[in-house]
Symmetry: C2
């Protein structure tokens, strides 16, 4: 069942029902503007990753204000939610396996420009078969493994062979390379991230050149995330940047260090989970109404916004335990607090609605269109 919205436009923040997913619109716009300004001199374009926000509304703002040329997604269900919400250019940065999912993907090509990735010859054959039956063509990218050790073929000849197979398929159009190094995003030190992306760039550049020698041009060379996008953009190898978290920022990305050894502050925390103190049974202990069903803990516990002395020390399913030292702090039953999620992507996926805040009031409420869209 769809949940009802936790707020109405015009409400003060303190009246929002909790748990609620709230978006500080000023900070969000700052992040859009910052990314646009950082990418402008590089020539690389922003194709924001909707796996983070799952919202056609956020996607439209990333385009209109933030200069994004399109969106990328991981799942057909996410592509559907965006296409139905009016987004016209979508890359599925992932393998789509199984006939029914591929049929849905071809259904979408009538509504939007949609591309997809492969890393296996049998997938090229299946894609061609479904494309022929659907009477359409689809742009197909080769995913190369540039350090994730997950999906993707090796850069170089394996990738070229797969690209030639795509180019030789009547209903497929070779679109380029998907070259994303996810693990590099969270390396804490800048020199570690630089080394990782330098290696990714070598393999990607080499593959682009070998493709060119065979007469295959890459319309898209896509990859990068919030932790490393400045590095990829500076290489001239990637022409599309797939950052997602930059728009919201979470506690984990804020643990990345800059060249001065300080936590990265390029982007502001814009996304929060609003919580209520539901029990304050003894001094130094309070319990929130948000546990790990309401805030993802795969990248660590959330932080309490504006209260560095208070620690969210334990998440059970529906409860979050806060502790602190010293008698000066007191948290009262019914008091509302903002949590900075450890990881924004899976936190967003727990909610049906965003509550957009500005100046302490609810400015807008809009849906997480692709909430739960895992297929």
């Amino acid at each position: 069942m769809l949940q009802t919205p936790p707020a109405l436009p015009g409400m003060p923040e303190d009246e929002i029902d909790t748990p609620a997913l709230v978006l500080d619109l000023d900070a969000f716009e700052h992040n859009l503007d910052t990314m646009k300004a950082l990418l402008a001199p590089t020539g690389a374009k922003l194709r924001a990753h909707a796996k983070t926000h799952k919202s056609a509304t956020v996607a439209r703002l990333q385009a209109s204000r933030g200069g994004a040329v399109g969106q990328c997604v991981q799942k057909v269900g996410e592509a559907e939610a965006l296409a139905w919400g009016g987004i016209g250019d979508i890359i599925v940065t992932n393998q789509v396996v199984g006939r029914s999912k591929l049929q849905r993907l071809f259904g979408l090509t009538k509504l939007a420009r949609v591309s997809v990735c492969v890393d296996d010859a049998s997938q090229v054959a299946m894609l061609e078969e479904v494309a022929e039956a659907a009477g359409g063509r689809i742009e197909t990218l080769v995913e190369i493994d540039v350090g994730m050790a997950r999906c993707g073929v090796e850069p170089g000849p394996s990738a070229v062979a797969l690209a030639e197979r795509i180019a030789g398929s009547k209903h497929l159009v070779f679109g380029g390379l998907q070259a994303y190094h996810g693990r590099a995003q969270h390396l804490r030190k800048p020199e570690e991230r630089e080394a990782a992306i330098a290696a990714s760039a070598d393999g990607t550049r080499r593959t682009v050149e070998q493709l060119r020698q065979r007469g295959l041009e890459c319309r898209v060379v896509g990859g990068a995330g919030t932790g490393t996008f400045e590095l990829e953009a500076a290489t001239g190898v990637w022409n599309e940047i797939q950052a997602g978290s930059y728009a919201f920022m979470d506690a984990d990305y804020a643990r990345n260090l800059d060249a001065a050894g300080k936590p990265m502050s390029t982007f502001r925390h814009a996304l929060f989970v609003l919580a209520t103190v539901m029990s304050a049974p003894k001094p130094g202990l309070a319990v929130l109404d948000v546990g790990h069903k309401g805030v993802a803990v795969d990248c660590g516990m959330p932080l309490v916004w504006g209260m560095p002395d208070v620690a969210y020390v334990g998440a059970s399913d529906e409860h979050g335990k806060l502790t602190w030292d010293g008698g000066a702090r007191s948290l009262k039953l019914g008091q509302k607090l903002r949590l900075i999620p450890g990881h924004c992507d899976p936190t967003v996926d727990r909610y049906d609605w965003y509550v957009g805040l500005r100046g302490g009031r609810v400015e807008c409420v809009f849906p997480v269109d692709a909430r739960g869209a895992m297929r």
Copy 2:
């Protein structure tokens, strides 16, 4: 947006779209029968916890086949989903803080018998105020802290004082005690669980007796979970058992040991996430289409059903990495596998539909009514 069902009744398991939440109906019924048989001689009743299953359909089967006298929930939204689905007796085993949530709770008392917990005098006053305005009465339990160090007042005089305040409120009815020791559920050794519950029982028994001396009878003394319920049921102190996971079983509960030092096998694994191999880029590596958005990892990685040699070694948002040693095993692109979730409660909460399986075919598809019901 609500997701579409991933299967139709009659389909073979292999045709179910993935990721999907699947329920082995034979194993589920075995678990219902086992719990009923284990509780029968003790006199304690089963009030199954819907925080696990979030489904009115599961709740009805727990009553009709499994002998449950009612359900418990953590959130008003869960109580709504059950009451709207025809469940007639519900305890909110939690504090409900804030006027709008309390108004929704009173709305429900017209549809079902609904009780709620408190652990603070100010909450009693707020509950009385809302009850008076709503023109109704509500049964109210005192939550005592029997080892969780989370919500709840201390057993003994503090609990008695709160109970007397409830009994003295015109629109509230004192209902008894909520006495749940969550941490004890996952203590691995039986002697550790016995010691924890013996301590919980002391405080609970003492509180029941002190209440009786003041003329306050407990209709309900509730608590216990899948890890310890036989201990609570044997004390004669608790009269309602709030186990939830017993119906499904997850990998974490299966790590509890029995008296012989072996993994507990009282209940069978009935709940799975069905996944597809979406990439098999090299020998000894396969990637599934289920990451931590699709299977909760707060209690560890999922296990691969029927393949003890294959390890799910890493969950990213939408990908799960499988590795294994030796050349005998081969996982093919498109192959479907069942995962045993590390933790069933938050895994269920990621899905809109259950797919009920029997004999390799889909027997039924039914909704996760309270999916996302955090408020």
